[in-house]
């Protein structure tokens, strides 16, 4: 269960974001995920990698379960990366399947230019995936765009030249005012917010992190800020950061395109494959998760 870094005390935050839901395996709880999407239009689902990792990575069912991703999986050499890749795809497919009312194995995961994942045929359900260490996180929305990012809360970021590479001038000035013992966690929070936002807009790391920012000392990120600290986005964007499983900082960025919270049912999420193929193309890059 989540313990919020930024408790959802504000009405607007509680309206936009459902409480994170932990999925302990293929059994869900999917009713809770469905209810979150029905009520809020979005859901944030997290899991432990071990809960989704097949006992045998040579299981003959795996090629069908992974679909086109199986080829990439077979080429991977790093054992932890292989395990996380399988677990995250299975979790994502089961979670999305529960929302669109289809069996997980029937869903095809594809990638947009830049590596952003999407469900072929269900493009109006926007999805985002993040994983780090033992944590898997999936964000889903039918309101517009969603981006999620997770990092270990104590991941070392100070001392890697981080501030100058990822912070705006305004953020660097604000960080200087934060006590040294809290600066690393503030950087981790900023990093996850920036990653979540850049994933939501489909840019990933192609977007210079020094060109947009957040308030390092804000209790609740309300908007993207320009390098001088002035507001850069409006009410259509919402952000939230929380701590999951006691040791992970997770941020979510949500763009409300006005598609509505309750949607028009499962079939409204379908997009014809031919239309989709014309709209989207390109190869996946590897760092968009």
């Amino acid at each position: 269960m989540a313990s919020s870094l930024e408790p959802m005390t504000e009405l607007e935050t509680r309206r936009v974001f459902a409480h994170p839901i932990q999925a302990r395996g293929p059994d869900g709880p999917w009713d809770a995920v469905g209810e979150a999407v029905s009520r809020h239009g979005s859901a944030l689902v997290h899991a432990r990698m071990d809960d989704w990792l097949p006992k045998d990575l040579a299981d003959p069912a795996l090629p069908d379960q992974l679909g086109p991703d199986y080829l990439r999986f077979r080429r991977m050499r790093h054992p932890t990366v292989r395990a996380r890749f399988v677990a995250s795809r299975l979790m994502l497919k089961h979670t999305a399947g529960a929302v669109v009312g289809e069996p997980a194995h029937s869903l095809e995961l594809s990638y947009k230019l830049g590596g952003r994942p999407y469900l072929r045929g269900f493009e109006q359900l926007d999805i985002s995936l993040s994983h780090t260490a033992d944590l898997l996180v999936v964000g889903l929305t039918r309101r517009g765009w969603i981006g999620v990012d997770a990092e270990l809360s104590d991941r070392q970021m100070v001392g890697l030249g981080t501030e100058s590479q990822m912070c705006t001038r305004h953020e660097q000035e604000e960080l200087e005012r934060i006590a040294e013992e809290h600066r690393n966690s503030a950087l981790v929070r900023l990093w996850t917010l920036k990653e979540a936002y850049s994933k939501a807009i489909g840019q990933g790391m192609r977007f210079r992190f020094t060109e947009f920012g957040f308030g390092p000392q804000d209790r609740q990120a309300r908007e993207v800020r320009l390098p001088d600290g002035s507001p850069g986005t409006g009410k259509e964007w919402a952000f939230h950061t929380c701590v999951l499983q006691q040791r992970y900082t997770v941020s979510i960025a949500l763009y409300d395109a006005g598609f509505g919270e309750t949607g028009d049912g499962v079939h409204a999420l379908r997009v014809e494959d031919e239309l989709l193929a014309e709209l989207i193309g390109g190869t996946a890059e590897r760092f968009a998760e």
Partner: protein, 105 residues
Amino acid sequence: MTTETSTDCPVTLRLQDVLLAVTGMTPELLFGDSAEEFAPELDEDLQLADDLGFDSVMLMELKFLLEQHFPELGELSLPEILPSLHTVGSLTDCLKRRLSPVEAV
């Protein structure tokens, strides 16, 4: 943390130092052999994400260390070099390409 900055070192040796520092791997794990001195040639097919376990924070660290180990290149832009951060080979090519005009001056 290694801070080798000698511009006389071949590109691959300097890149090895960077990759070892970012991934935290031992040379044996990274290069697949426990010989006394690991191979001078990197496996160019190694993929940064899928084989070496790079994530986005490590990419930022990689950029930082590349700037330290290849000071003649000046400040690098992550968005600009991102297309080359696919395999060890594509990164090596990128560095050699960028170093050529520098060395020619």
